[in-house]
């Protein structure tokens, strides 16, 4: 798809081109931009300066609250009503954006500067035909008749890979998948061939495989039109892959900026180093004893979701799992990976007992749990779960102490005092020792909440924990800390774990064994190193090729590499 060569090291080619651009005047020149919150005067963006030259791709990297989105949107003159500009200038093509009249701003928007958003579900108007939405910008900014505009629109839709462009014109956004919508979004923006494209987390909401396609398309289109890109992302790997220069922001400040190579290989600022260090990395494989009874064994699990209940008829049920069998040995961390719709979450939920299977059985310590009450309760008390969203998985009306203590309610062997002591002990273990017990979830950060969720899962000292995307909602550095904690606890208490994730990087770091799922079936399974280094199934390869790998260079920097793509020969 992309014309760019895949090399195991990326970025060098484009970087040289951009070096020559430095001679010309910057397309965008942000100097000392300072934004404050109106009422409290809190600084949101602090004296930020950076430049974008024609045709180059610049990345702004930072975690939530870093001010990256705010700074980028200010380029278009979008400042939320509650926020004040208190200093600095933004010059686009030599003109001060902040001093522009409304008319000039509008002439610039769309025509000279385009913008792509994160959430493809909400960035297109759901009640307007695609054709109309694409045409709107052209009609406004270009003096063309409707026939010419239509030809341009159709051409662009074809270029972004929409199969039936004529039909698409008469369709609404909801009739397309997320990836397709993001392509339409790109088409809509690139129709006007802007000089600068602001891309705010353009692929974060997409599946890994789709992510890469959309990024490649964006790079291709912008390059063809000599459009510069300001790419905003929390994903350092992705930014490093496509950008010539990187701006690292942290809590409103630019802490470091430079070429992608420099930033990756020779990070100067501690925060940059922390970001790099937080990227998941493979650790040496652990030794686990062979054989033995699996602690949890799943045999031919089939799960159907009921069809939609109509008044006159019921549509056929949808099969989510087609007879899946897995074993989890004592102390083992088994990762389940796959794209959305692969059935990995359903698998976790049915093992946890949240979804009733249509067939198959689950054995705990060799005993089928459905057969007797004692076996069921033994399993029930020993199997716990950590959920994806720490905002939704904790009852907002309970204190941390109550939340963590709740699973102990059903443990009859413990006295109240023992339970209290256990809660305190577990809270200390997850690093929430002092004074957190009396707080409510909304008073905690996302990372702290996920620690509470982990504490709740292990308070009963279970032998088996299911973790469903436990870190995907967290910021990069927090993710690293939580993963580290999880790893520590797993080693300390030795529980087995089914780790469900779409993030191959995370899986590479934590898993002993990996199961790859696709459309409700297991397509490949094996030890981690075997899967990552020598994938056999096409789908596994495709998955791996979509995400860049990172390798620590040992001196605080990292090296970026692409994994083998589909059909590419193994090295």
């Amino acid at each position: 798809m992309s014309t760019k060569a895949f090399s195991s090291e990326v970025g060098t080619g484009s970087r040289e081109e951009n070096a020559s651009n430095k001679a010309t005047a910057p397309l965008l020149d942000v100097a000392d931009l300072t934004l404050k919150l109106g009422a409290s005067g809190r600084t949101l963006v602090n004296a930020v300066s950076f430049q974008v030259f024609p045709g180059e791709i610049v990345g702004i990297v930072g975690e939530s609250g870093s001010g990256k989105t705010l700074a980028a949107r200010a380029v278009m003159g979008f400042i939320p009503p509650a926020v004040r500009l208190t200093g600095g200038t933004i010059r686009f093509e030599g003109q001060d954006v902040m001093a522009m009249s409304g008319k000039d701003l509008r002439a610039m928007r769309g025509s000279r500067v385009g913008m792509v958003f994160q959430e493809p579900m909400t960035s297109l108007n759901p009640s307007m035909l695609i054709g109309r939405q694409l045409d709107e910008g052209l009609e406004l900014h270009r003096k063309l008749d409707s026939g010419q505009r239509k030809a341009l629109v159709l051409d662009m839709l074809r270029r972004v890979g929409i199969r039936d462009p004529e039909g698409a014109l008469e369709s609404y956004p909801h009739q397309f998948s997320g990836g397709m919508r993001q392509r339409i979004m790109l088409a809509s923006v690139m129709l006007l061939k802007p000089a600068l494209l602001l891309a705010d987390e353009p692929t974060t909401a997409l599946d890994a495989v789709v992510q890469r396609d959309v990024m490649e398309l964006m790079v291709e289109l912008t390059q063809a039109n000599d459009t510069a890109v300001l790419l905003i992302s929390h994903d350092l790997g992705m930014v490093a892959r496509y950008c010539s220069r990187i701006v690292v922001m942290c809590q409103g400040d630019v802490v470091e900026q430079g070429t992608a190579e420099d930033i990756l290989a020779r990070p100067q600022h501690p925060y940059t180093r922390k970001l790099l260090a937080a990227m998941p990395q493979r650790l040496p494989a652990r030794f686990l004893p062979e054989g033995g009874t699996p602690i949890v064994a799943v045999r031919d699990l089939v799960v159907d979701y009921p069809g939609r209940q109509g008044f006159f008829r019921k549509s056929a049920p949808k099969r989510a799992l087609h007879g899946v069998s897995i074993d989890v040995k004592p102390g083992e961390v088994v990762a389940v990976v796959g794209g959305s719709g692969s059935g990995k979450t359903t698998l976790g939920q049915s093992i946890a007992g949240l979804v009733r299977p249509a067939g198959g059985e689950i054995l705990f310590n060799g005993k089928p749990i459905a057969k007797s009450d004692t076996a069921y309760w033994d399993y029930r008390l020993n199997c716990q779960m950590v959920f994806q969203d720490p905002y939704s998985s904790l009852d907002p009306r309970m204190t941390i102490q109550q939340l963590v203590g709740e699973p102990l309610r059903l443990v009859e062997a413990m006295s109240a005092a023992q339970k209290k002591a256990r809660v305190a002990e577990v809270l200390t273990e997850v690093g929430l020792g002092d004074g957190f017990g009396q707080r409510y979830p909304h008073e905690l950060s996302g990372g702290q909440r996920q620690r509470v969720a982990i504490a709740r899962a292990i308070v009963r000292r279970p032998s088996f924990v299911i973790a469903d995307e436990p870190v995907s909602a967290l910021d990069v550095t927090v993710r690293a800390q939580v993963l580290e904690l999880f790893d520590e606890l797993q080693k300390k208490h030795g529980f087995s774990c089914l780790f469900i994730s779409h993030d191959l990087g995370v899986v590479e770091q934590v898993a002993d064994r990996v199961i790859v799922m696709h459309e409700g079936r297991i397509v490949e399974e094996g030890p981690r190193d075997a899967i990552f280094d020598d994938p056999q199934h096409d789908y596994t390869r495709k998955l791996l090729s979509a995400v860049p790998g990172l390798e620590s260079t040992g001196d605080g920097g990292v090296r970026l590499f692409w994994r083998r793509g589909e059909g590419e020969a193994s090295a």
Partner: protein, 314 residues
């Protein structure tokens, strides 16, 4: 589309049946019956028994219900006990009176309140916004019957511009008829305007936060294009549903407003029928009201995809 409509009506049938049965039972549980009311203090046990027999009230409840419901299924809603008129034409005639008031008031209220709500949302927290929301909240806090009385007092009695009581159908004399409709319409209009404005504002606020609005602005569209072309249509969905609810509720009877302005509408018919224990009329009205409610909501739902194609009916 057609299938969807049929399914919806079929789904409403159990509710309609429950309404029919419970109305039937409830009005017979309430003390007093039409025979007693027709005879008043003249009732001897013999004459009461005669009249009850003539009205078919001497039969057991299930038999009475069976007869009535069977007739309804054949389109015969029976005759009013007190006026001897056929129930269905009576209901339709009264319904038209109520409907003209309700429809005009709600349409007018929407025409004013929706744009005002959108603008209030657009200028959130400005003096204009606070003023509009404050006024809307005040309007919806005033009980309609009191508002009606105030209008009556001011325009009817103090200024003498409008007739105070009575009703002339526009069909008979459109000039006079219009005069009689002004105040009831104004009463409902003012009240519903408050309701609709707040809803329109809230749903516009929700929409204005979404990315596609920023996207529209990022295309260089003017604020008015952003507001009316992009925000308005999407924000109108929930408001549209609310308008449907309001319509459904109001068409079921604006008894209070009809009482204030002495208008022979459906609400008044039902209330009078209840007071007169005119069973066929009560039953007919209730079925009609419930059916109207279902129908209005169906129409609202069928129109909804215009504002939000995502919920297109299968």
């Amino acid at each position: 589309m057609f299938r969807f409509a049929l399914t919806r009506i079929a789904m409403a049938l159990p509710t309609l049946l429950i309404v029919a049965v419970s109305v039937f039972v409830l009005i017979r549980l309430i003390p007093g019956d039409p025979a007693q009311l027709m005879l008043g203090d003249l009732a001897t046990p013999a004459s009461l028994a005669d009249l009850r027999t003539r009205l078919g009230l001497d039969q057991s409840l299930p038999v009475q219900f069976g007869i009535w419901f069977g007739n309804v299924l054949h389109g015969d809603f029976g005759q009013s006990i007190s006026s001897q008129q056929a129930v269905l034409p009576l209901i339709l005639q009264r319904f038209l009176v109520s409907a003209q008031i309700v429809l005009v008031a709600v349409v007018l209220a929407s025409l004013f309140a929706v744009p005002a709500g959108v603008i209030a949302a657009w200028r959130q927290d400005s003096a204009l916004d606070i003023g509009l929301v404050g006024a809307a909240t005040l309007l919806l806090s005033i009980p309609t019957f009191w508002l009606g009385l105030l209008l009556l007092l001011f325009f009817g009695l103090k200024l003498g511009w409008l007739p105070v009581v009575g009703y002339v159908s526009i069909a008979d004399d459109w000039k006079a008829g219009l005069l009689y409709l002004v105040m009831p319409i104004m009463t409902l209009f003012l009240h519903e305007m408050g309701v609709v404005l707040r809803m329109a504002r809230a749903s516009t606020l929700e929409v204005l936060r979404l990315d596609y609005i920023t996207h529209a602005r990022a295309k260089g569209l003017s604020e008015s294009a952003v507001l009316w072309r992009h925000a308005f249509k999407n924000a109108f969905g929930p408001t549209w549903t609310l308008i449907g609810l309001v319509l459904g509720n109001l068409l079921g009877g604006i008894a209070v407003v009809e009482t204030v302005f002495t208008i022979p509408g459906l609400g008044r018919l039902l209330v009078d029928a209840i007071f007169a224990r005119d069973y066929p009329v009560i039953q007919g009205c209730m079925l009609f009201v419930a059916f109207t409610y279902v129908l209005v909501n169906l129409v609202i739902d069928l129109c909804y995809p215009i504002f939000d194609p995502r919920v297109a009916a299968e």
